[in-house]
Amino acid sequence: MNLLAQAADPRLNFWGRETGSAALTAIFIALAVGFLLMFAIMRVPTRARRPIVWFFTFFCGSFYVLYYLWPRPVDYQPDEVPQGTVEQVGVFLNDALPRFANIANLLTYILLCLGVFSLARIHTSKFIKKQKDWPFSVVLLVSMLTMAVVGYWNFFLEINDFEGKLMDPENWSMVGYANDMLFDGLIQQMDAAMFSMIAFFILSAAFRAFRIRSIEATVMMASALILMLSLMGAVDFLWSGMIDSVTGGEKASFLNNFRLDVVSSWVKSYLQIPSIRALDFGVGLGALAMGLRIWLGLERGGVSV
């Protein structure tokens, strides 16, 4: 336990390793063991995989359950030595959390790599077999490869730019310009263009589909109009100014209830937010139930392989 917990002797602290060749060796060993484990799991019969996956799911889930339920040391200082098992476990859980987060981050990065690999495999095969729309696959592969090569090349130039010369575009090489054109000039602009297209669909839908055909539709339209008008600062300002001129700025006047900001705030506070809270509450309960089922291995889909 001392190896994992915050021990008095830093050499015994599992998490307190200094970076350097020893740490690098440890990383390579861990990587090799990881690959070996992965290949071993691939060799395991399908039926036997289920308990292995469940064990890891349960172990990881248990960490977070313990983290939230185990008593935590109050005002614990890094140079303090934990006393007794309860405190030692509490300190260990606290210390281990960032590592768990790092492992979760690493897993997400691996998933990203897996996604790239999967995308490349599917589209390469589509191109080789000349399946339907294969030219689009070529465009995707070429774009992906070009962006990766230019991006990494530029990244290495930037990290070796100790004097910060590359901050000024005048000092850019062709790679810098290529990266700028691909990232800022293309990807970012296409992102914005994709999103802005929504405006056209919304306008078209507002004209063709937003019709008062029922009481519900009328209530929805009234709320939408109030909120849209409240987003238009000028309308809000003029409307409120009009009410102020009638009430003479009297704060206690009943007419103040009809200021656009007051009406929209009422709609948001008493109609919109409670509805969202109710939805969130339902989603939260569902997530809790699903989490418990996966953690305890009751969800077949969660642990089947």
Partner: protein, 324 residues
Amino acid sequence: MSVNNETKPSIWEKLQTLDRRILYGVLIVLTAASLFIHVEIPVNPERNSKDFYISLMDVPQDKIIVIESDWTNSTRGETAGHMETLLRIVMSKGHKFAIYSIADAQAPQVARDVIQRINAEREEQGLKVYKPWVDYVEVGYSANAEGQHNSMANDVRQAWGSHKERDEAGVERSVLESPVLAGVRQIGDVGMLVVVSASSTIDTAVERMGGKVNMGFMVTGVMGPNALPYYQAGLINGIAVGLRGNYDIEYMMEYGLNYEGPDGKVKNAYVEKRDKVIPPFTEGSTFGRGARYFLPLHVALGLMILAIILGNVAMFVSKSKGAK
């Protein structure tokens, strides 16, 4: 010979079958044209924007601001303006800041571009330019929001300790050694955490760090309704929602809050917090992207309201004609 009315469609019936490309054309022309018209539109800033502004302006000078930048250019109409306004305030107040991203791998570069843009603007105005490592530090990108927020809430130094950046001399060091993060041990030591987001990372930020640090959000109009319950519940100090929220902040930077102008009138009065007086900004830019896009927003929304009204009137007229 009399003409049969049934064969000659009225203007309302024609509207019912209006080609959508005409609508698209009108939207493009009007919004694009309004981008060239610069007018200052008066507003009454929303209460949540005022609270966000107060919270940001109340951060003590010696405290750092942490910015979570979770947006890309797909939402630049709103979030690029948020980020620019936030950086203008932070830099004008002279706070050091740390910046990290969670939602999207593109986000760090997009944020870096904005920092460069605001630095260039400040250089042009003869103001202090923020230097990496000394005045601000990038804490990188993490792919897992849940893990990262959990880790930050637990121990921010352990969460960020493994990230390295180059110091002034070009030597790679842990970001914890940067003067920016000196004195920061727990997330609560940070003056304020501002999440500039177009995604659901706001949820995990509140779930894991709510109550541990002063928190404020600058989110898109789409994410606003998701984030407002947190504001109403007091889990975050304030929130600037969408383009309107951005313009609210710019407007308060220009005219102050509860501040009596030279004409003797108080602009941006906050009745519930009347004693909180914030004077206008005296250096740097105040109006920016929010002011530039506010008129196009009016035009687009006005057009949408008009489309709804016209569509419904056309439907009723056609119906009543059919009934006759």
